[in-house]
């Protein structure tokens, strides 16, 4: 439970990519594997790598991002590639900045990609909405990586609605290899429509691996030219009124393209009674899609099939399920890959050939609502179901004895899909069987009764993590005070767990600062909020300006570990890039920045000096007004990986009388108990010496080699 909770709150996740930090690439003399010019070569790629390869094959020349799981490896690969090619790549300050930088490049004629996680698009929503009005004059692809089930995010919002909201075309792959092909198609579609295209993935696409066939790499056009046209680019009301008309015209064109897109295809084995000339984009068992004429008549009732409409990862689950259930002959699947605008005519002709239709989509009923509306327009009255309705409508009471087909059953009887979390193959198989009335006995999992509780492996701040020291010191300095601790998104979110318990309110990137403003005005409690260096640059600065201007009263602790740690050690504006052997960057001093904002009480602490830090923190907490504490110490994991930290482990000496303050108050994962005695694991201890400073008996000493 704690594990799950922590994972949920620890948004933006940690990746294995740490193992291949940026520096490692610069040592390698061999070419990046995604730059290989071999055509038709099969390489095992992660979904994110496949998308990166697709972008490279499409000749992407300009890419921007703010890192966030599950999209981070995509950016990392493009960053690495940019170091050995003429691709321009940047880690932007936040997603809004990334989108605006990309918008300019795409309107200067460069193929451009802008990459973020789903909640990142909330930050970038402002430029997104109006960029749709302006459009682009070279291909621009916006990658949004959604995270159903919240493996490493604070919510599981369904970003398909952004495409609808902005009026932009959207593509959604169902497999790793398709992710590569769709990325290329997205650039082409963007240029055909002169609009940015949203490429939407989910975690299971980003983090699946499969063999992908390499294609030809288009030459990159790396220098563009901006042609002035104020009546197209300056969105004053008079211009925007015209641009909105243009956007709607583009959306209509997009709808026409969606109708004939090979990304929307039907798979079926065998045909309907009258030799199947009804649908377009029919994809029979793996063949390429072929187009046939639309037949507007209904299929004979006895010839109609079971229909499934699905997208993304639901497609492989559904395709496997109908095979496993032995209903391939009697079922047809419409896979929607070009999902905004939806292909209305294709859907209408599909539902006409079906006895009943099940819409399978993770998240919200995005397709289901559209399919029902199209069916209504076509006058098709068949059951079309997708999501359980318990959240949206009460069960209906039928007045007549005849049960109407569309009538909702009580929630507990409905064999339908949830809007919550992610799907899996067995769940989809079982729901399909129940909906179409197919006999099916699920495989039984082994009985887990009688298995004792196995201790959890909750994610934990690392051995030697400076955040642990800072949290401990803040708690000590604030002893006896009634404190609210708003926190933010990063490794330090994990401080909410006991025994540190320094996270009371976590909302979104940057909210630690602004929510502190609210808490300090709305209550008489002391407010101490936490934010990391990268998150401070991302969206903490505006909150701090607000705090100074409105004369709020709280202490902001900026946990400056010199890297964007949580997502796998990406750069941010405060990072010394020369430590990664990278030239051509500047470094922004958080201290000078905070000073220039007019903060009157600024303290810089070195958190591994415990007593000194506590004294300094006490002073900052006593200040009336906005005080800022900058806690500076490199991320231990990163410092180890770039070899600026050489671990010097400590051990517990015979002086220990078992107070266990070390375990009970800081809970560093290097501690363990052996035969009732506290010990330190010399393999993981980095020698931060925080425990040695708090031990009442001075029993923790450096280990002599």
């Amino acid at each position: 439970m704690v594990n799950r909770l922590a994972a949920e709150l620890a948004a933006r996740g940690v990746e294995q990519t740490i193992l291949r930090t940026i520096k490692i690439r610069t040592w390698k003399k061999s070419m990046h594997k995604l730059l290989s010019d071999k055509i038709g070569h099969q390489i095992m790629l992660l979904g994110n790598e496949a998308i990166a390869r697709g972008a490279i094959e499409a000749g992407v020349a300009f890419a921007t991002t703010y890192p966030g799981t599950p999209s981070s490896e995509l950016s990392l690969n493009l960053f690495q590639i940019s170091q050995e090619s003429d691709l321009y790549f940047e880690y932007s300050t936040n997603e809004k900045v990334a989108m605006e930088v990309a918008a300019a490049a795409a309107n200067s004629g460069l193929r451009t990609m802008c990459i973020m996680k789903h909640v990142g698009l909330n930050v970038a929503a402002d430029p997104l909405m109006t960029l749709a009005y302006i459009g682009v004059n070279a291909g621009m692809v916006i990658l949004t990586a959604d995270d159903p089930a919240m493996f490493s995010s604070q919510n599981e919002q369904d970003n398909r609605y952004y495409a609808k909201l902005a009026g932009l075309p959207m593509l959604e792959p169902s497999s790793v290899s398709e992710a590569k092909e769709m990325t290329i198609a997205a650039f082409e579609l963007s240029e055909a429509l002169q609009e940015p295209v949203i490429l939407r993935t989910t975690t299971r696409i980003n983090h699946s691996s499969a063999f992908v066939k390499t294609g030809k790499i288009l030459e990159r056009k790396t220098k563009g030219r901006f042609t002035k046209a104020p009546m197209s680019y300056v969105t004053v009301p008079a211009v925007s009124r015209k641009l909105h008309v243009k956007l709607l015209a583009n959306l209509k064109k997009a709808a026409e393209l969606s109708e004939i897109s090979t990304h929307n295809f039907i798979t079926e084995k065998g045909s309907n009674c009258n030799s199947g000339s009804h649908s377009i984009n029919v994809k029979s068992s793996g063949e390429n899609a072929k187009t046939a004429k639309i037949d507007n008549s209904f299929t004979n009732k006895e010839c109609r099939k079971f229909g499934i409409i699905c997208n993304g990862v639901s497609y492989p689950y559904a395709a496997d399920a109908i095979k496993d259930l032995g209903i391939e002959e009697s079922t047809k699947i419409l896979r929607i890959g070009f999902s905004n605008p939806m292909p209305g005519n294709l859907i209408k002709s599909f539902v006409k050939e079906c006895e009943k239709v099940l819409v399978i989509e993770e998240g919200e009923p995005f397709m289901e609502e559209a399919v029902k509306a199209f069916a209504q327009e076509a006058g098709v009255v068949i059951p079309i179901k997708g999501k359980n309705s318990e959240e949206v409508a009460p069960p209906c009471v039928s007045s007549s004895s005849e049960q109407t087909e569309g009538c909702l059953l009580p929630a507990e009887q409905e064999p339908l899909f949830s809007r919550l979390y992610e799907f899996d193959p067995a769940m989809v198989r079982q729901k399909i069987a129940a909906f179409f009335g197919i006999d099916y006995t699920p495989v039984k999992s082994v009985d887990t009764k009688g298995i004792p509780d196995i201790p959890q492996r909750p994610p934990n701040l690392c051995s030697g993590c400076s955040h642990r020291a800072t949290f401990y010191e803040i708690k000590k300095a604030a002893e006896g005070m009634d404190v609210i601790y708003p926190s933010d998104i990063g490794c330090y979110t994990l401080g909410f767990l006991p025994p540190l318990s320094t996270g009371d309110f976590v909302l979104c990137m940057g909210a630690s600062v602004s929510s502190a403003c609210g808490f300090s005005k709305a209550t008489d409690q002391k407010v101490v909020s936490f934010i990391g260096d990268s998150t401070f640059f991302h969206s903490g600065i505006t909150g701090l300006v607000n705090a100074v201007f409105n004369n709020h009263n709280f202490t902001l602790v900026i946990l400056d570990n010199g890297i964007t740690a949580m997502t796998g050690h990406q750069p941010n504006p405060g990072v010394d890039m020369t430590s990664m052997n990278l030239e051509g960057y500047k470094q922004i001093s958080i201290e000078n920045l905070v000073k220039s904002l007019g903060v009157e009480h600024i303290t810089v602490i070195k958190p591994f000096k415990v007593r000194k830090s506590i004294e300094a923190i006490k002073e900052a907490l006593a200040f009336k007004g906005v005080s800022v504490i900058i806690s500076q110490e490199p991320c231990a994991l990163f410092a180890k990986s770039i070899k600026i930290l050489k671990p010097r482990p400590f051990h517990v000496t015979a002086k220990c009388v078992d107070h266990r303050d070390c375990i009970n108050q800081i809970a560093c994962p290097s501690f363990y108990i052996d035969n009732g005695r506290v010990k330190i694991d010399a393999d993981t201890c980095v020698g931060c010496a925080v425990c040695a400073q708090i031990c009442p008996d001075n029993a923790i000493m450096p280990l002599k080699k």
Partner: protein
């Protein structure tokens, strides 16, 4: 082609992802379609890393509870934790060398006895192969080769459609040059351990 569903569970740092890469590469060499997925959210912070590898014609990249044909656990408590991924016919292969979680190390929760773990698993999935893979990895030359020791045991089980030759070739392609001999040795030791384990069971 029959679908075979393999789940590998491990603790961050045990080399689960490399083992998956080797098996994926071997599948390509064997002409077997393969789809894989991984959840490695908190690997660097001591969390559990799980890979799902689906061999054969299926399109899905994840494996539902109860539907694993084979479960390979790099750590005994993690194998037991993942037992809900198995049905009574699932083949389970596990290392017996524990990596106690921090919570158990500081006395929050109790790490189960190894003998108890083995009997709890065997009661549910009778075809269990359990041995100390860490010991063999050290014998092969490095504790880092624990992953390849278990790949050796997996190949011996003949549960997945890959040949030993193709796995060896994949190791040559996918692992560090300086590690190849050590890994080959580890593969052999794991293979033999699983063999010995099976003979032992037949004798019982």
């Amino acid at each position: 082609m029959d679908t075979k569903r393999l789940i590998i569970v491990a603790v961050g740092g045990q080399g689960n992802l490399l083992a998956s890469k080797v098996l994926g590469e071997a599948a390509l060499l064997s002409g077997v379609p393969v789809h894989m997925s991984e959840i490695h959210g908190m690997a660097q912070r001591g969390g559990v890393v799980e890979s799902a590898i689906v061999f054969g014609d299926a399109k899905s990249t994840i494996i539902s509870d109860g539907e694993a044909d084979i479960l390979v656990g790099f750590e005994p408590a993690e194998t037991l934790r993942a037992i809900n991924r198995c049905n009574a016919n699932t083949k389970v292969i596990t290392s017996l060398s524990p990596v106690p979680p921090f919570t158990a190390a500081i006395g929050i929760g109790v790490y189960p006895q190894i003998d108890n773990i083995v009997s709890l698993i065997r009661e549910r999935t009778p075809s269990l192969v359990a041995f100390d893979a860490l010991k063999l990895a050290k014998e092969a030359g490095s504790p880092m080769t624990l992953n390849i020791v278990l790949v050796g045991a997996l190949i011996q089980s003949k549960e997945i459609p890959l040949t030993r030759e193709n796995v060896e070739e994949a190791i040559r392609l996918r692992t560090k040059a300086s590690f190849i001999d050590m890994n080959m040795n580890a593969l052999k030791l794991g293979f033999e351990a699983a063999e010995a384990c099976c003979t032992w069971r037949q004798r019982q």
